[in-house]
């Protein structure tokens, strides 16, 4: 049974946050740079041509040649080469009130370091102005040991090197956090509206009639839209499967568990479902299964409405009948 897919007046969307704390190994050059910062020193590295790169790099950016092993202390003061005022700082900015990002050429360096300059007042910023660093109270061996730079006439802050030399900084943690608004699109919205009513709504290709569940709006075989909506059965066949015995960061099912590629009756593509109420030694290709839904009071726009699939008392389908869906 099929009919033209009704126009939906809503397209679902929801916030989606992607975040991870990446751990970066620094390599010998940046490790030296960060370790020196902890001692209150800013170090550059010399290229083969004698230029001093700050921050230091493993290579000469102009030629690709490796830099030398010679580190030199620069600054601490320097000259602002160029700057941009940040009138409305964002949450990850180094300073909470308005400040400038500036390219600062430290005394003795041949390249400029990008850092924050805190003047509180945009009118006090100028290219050519001299600045001096303000250091963190408890240095940790990271770029944040340099809190910011301030106009040099505010006084040079002297830093005492710690009594004990600690191990060099070899890695840093870089938290990454990206916030999206995720929309699954029109076809998946119809599918989710179906799930909310306890139904599997697929869509059939206008050219081949092949039925997609979940629908994608078009058939990837030829790009032709799937404009006819088809309700498919909650019963289906296991076309293949695996038993997972290894944990995965985003999956909360207790180990071990079986996931199966399930071909619902009336569909032409399988999708992954959890298979339960069946001993793991009995799961097999060809077995007939049905969807078990969470209580209807909990139905939402979510594939989590389907608790899992479970075996039903029907004879297995022979492999020859499902082979092309595997």
């Amino acid at each position: 049974m099929s009919h033209p897919t009704p126009e939906t007046d809503v397209i679902l969307s929801a916030p989606h946050v992607l975040e991870y704390d990446y751990r970066r190994s620094l390599g010998p050059v940046l490790s030296h740079f960060f370790s020196a910062l902890r001692e209150g020193q800013i170090h550059g590295v010399k290229t083969k041509s004698g230029r001093v790169l700050v921050p230091p790099a493993e290579y000469d950016p102009e030629t690709g040649e490796s830099t030398t092993d010679e580190f030199v202390a620069v600054g601490p003061g320097g000259v602002v080469e160029s700057w941009a005022w940040v009138g409305t700082p964002r949450k990850n900015h180094p300073i909470a009130h308005p400040f400038a990002f500036a390219l600062i050429k430290l005394d003795g360096a041949d390249t400029a370091l990008l850092h924050a300059v805190d003047t509180r007042d945009e009118s006090l910023m100028a290219s050519g102005m001299r600045v001096t660093p303000r250091w963190a109270a408890t240095p940790e061996g990271g770029i944040t040991d340099l809190c910011c730079f301030v106009p040099e006439d505010q006084g040079v802050q002297t830093v005492e090197a710690p009594d004990e030399v600690s191990e060099p900084t070899q890695s840093i943690v870089t938290p990454v956090n990206v916030e999206y608004v995720y929309s699954p699109g029109k076809a998946a919205t119809r599918y989710l509206q179906g799930l909310k009513q306890g139904k599997f709504l697929g869509q059939a290709s206008d050219s081949s009639g092949l039925v997609y569940i979940p629908p994608r709006g078009a058939c990837p075989r030829d790009g032709v839209p799937t404009s006819r909506e088809v309700e498919v059965s909650g019963k289906g066949t296991v076309v293949t499967l695996t038993i997972v015995r290894v944990p995965s960061a985003n999956i909360t099912v207790d180990l071990p568990y079986c996931t199966a590629n399930i071909l619902l009756d009336g569909a032409d593509i399988s999708f992954t479902g959890l298979l339960q109420e069946c001993p793991l030694e009995d799961v097999r290709i060809g077995m007939r299964v049905e969807a078990v839904w969470v209580d209807s009071s909990e139905w939402d726009y979510s594939s989590e409405n389907i608790k899992y699939f479970r075996p039903i008392d029907e004879p297995d389908l022979p492999f020859s009948e499902i082979k092309e869906y595997c």
Binding site: T240, A249, I269
Partner: protein, 386 residues
């Protein structure tokens, strides 16, 4: 193609689970500097650079090619980045080769890498989106059902995968840069290793590696100047793609792979690949993909790929050695893995593969695949120009 192109320099880093001794920059430079040394060239000899790596989420650096450009001496030169998931190392080499074959450049440096230790690939490949439930446990969770599908179709003996893993793990012992080396490895050790994604056992799975691979591809004139080792002439390259999911897709034996290898052989003038190709480096991240790809690469008829493994044809002393280096099963810096296959094929025809060299190898295949078996990239290299 208007111009001949050849691999004239090869560099691989040492591979390990965590190369905490180097930055991402240091990692790719280790490979690039080894390739320059092998080719006896300087940075200034390079006309263009092509960079490849797998998803940016693996290291959390968006568009890393931008910050890596200066580290690879790209200033004032064309630079491109390629991305085709796990096959990227192969397709990156193919893009680099095309810049030479088209007559645009004389010497192109191409580098691909992954520094998996900076994050967790299983996390990056199993992101939970709103409205959905995440059930596919990383690459193993995706590919294990396809392996089971292959087993059902072919009736292959259940220990086929163990045999592949044993062969590749023994081969890795002969490869100085391989990551995972198990000197005491036995059939029983693999058979008794924990099942992760049934039927994939722990020791039938690739490791997560940090590493990079670099190639320098030159035109005929550059190849003739090459001194450290003879050039590996590129006879043919081919890429094919298909969607990851469509109704009645044959995921076990993807059409794109069948078409890719058939087109490759045609370009290379090969009519009987099993006979004419001396050895191959094939992207096998889970042991069972060796027999599957033997069929997909037309080395064996449908349903018969496992026999090649079983009968020892794919061993170092077999008639078509596969993954002499130990392959992806022993070393998997994802973005680099395809290029390593291409590089190892070139090393064979250059005669520089050391302990895992196949004597007299004249023609070799490099193969990579990526995504949900949706991207394929391959090349044939030979000791003589085609």
């Amino acid at each position: 193609m208007a111009e001949h192109a050849a691999v004239i320099g090869i560099g691989q880093t040492d591979f390990d689970a965590k190369r905490v001794d180097v930055s991402q920059v240091g990692l790719i430079r280790e490979a690039a500097l080894r390739a320059l040394k092998d080719a006896q060239l300087e940075w200034s000899d390079i006309d263009a650079v092509v960079i490849g790596k797998a998803p940016d989420m693996f290291e959390g650096v968006m568009m890393p090619e931008l910050f890596l450009a200066e580290a690879l001496g790209c200033v004032g030169k064309p630079m491109l980045r390629v991305h085709t998931a796990g096959s990227v190392g192969g397709s990156t080499a193919i893009v680099a080769a095309s810049l030479v074959q088209s007559g645009i450049h004389k010497r192109v440096l191409t580098v691909s890498y992954e520094k998996q230790s900076e994050s967790n690939a299983m996390w990056a490949l199993s992101i939970k989106l709103p409205f959905s439930q995440t059930l596919v446990a990383g690459a193993g969770g995706f590919f294990a059902p396809l392996i089971r599908g292959y087993m059902a179709r072919s009736g292959a003996p259940e220990d086929t995968g163990i045999r592949v893993a044993l062969k590749d793990r023994l081969n890795a012992l002969k490869n100085p840069v391989a990551h995972l080396k198990l000197p005491d490895v036995t059939f029983e050790m693999i058979a008794n290793s924990p099942m992760l994604w049934d039927p994939i056992r722990y020791l039938e799975t690739c490791p997560s590696s940090d590493g990079a691979c670099a190639l320098i591809i030159g035109d005929s004139a550059a190849a003739k100047q090459s001194r450290s080792h003879p050039p590996a002439w590129i006879h043919a390259t081919q890429m094919k793609t298909e969607p990851t999911m469509f109704a009645k897709r044959d995921q076990v034996m993807p059409q794109a792979g069948l078409d890719c290898s058939a087109a490759l052989y045609k370009k290379a003038g090969i009519t009987d690949p099993r006979k004419e190709i001396d050895c191959a480096e094939v992207y096998v991240p889970f042991s069972w993909f060796e027999p599957m790809w033997m069929e997909n690469l037309h080395f064996a008829p449908p349903g018969e790929g496992w026999r090649m493994t079983y009968e020892g044809a794919t061993a170092l002393d077999g008639d078509l050695p596969i993954n002499m280096s130990g392959g992806v099963l022993c070393t998997n810096a994802i973005g680099a893995s395809g290029m390593v296959r291409f590089a190892e094929a070139a090393m064979q025809v250059r005669g520089q593969a050391g302990e895992h060299q196949i004597d007299g190898a004249k023609k070799a295949l490099g193969h990579a695949y990526g995504g949900g078996s949706q991207y394929f990239s391959m090349w044939i290299v030979g000791d003589q120009p085609l």
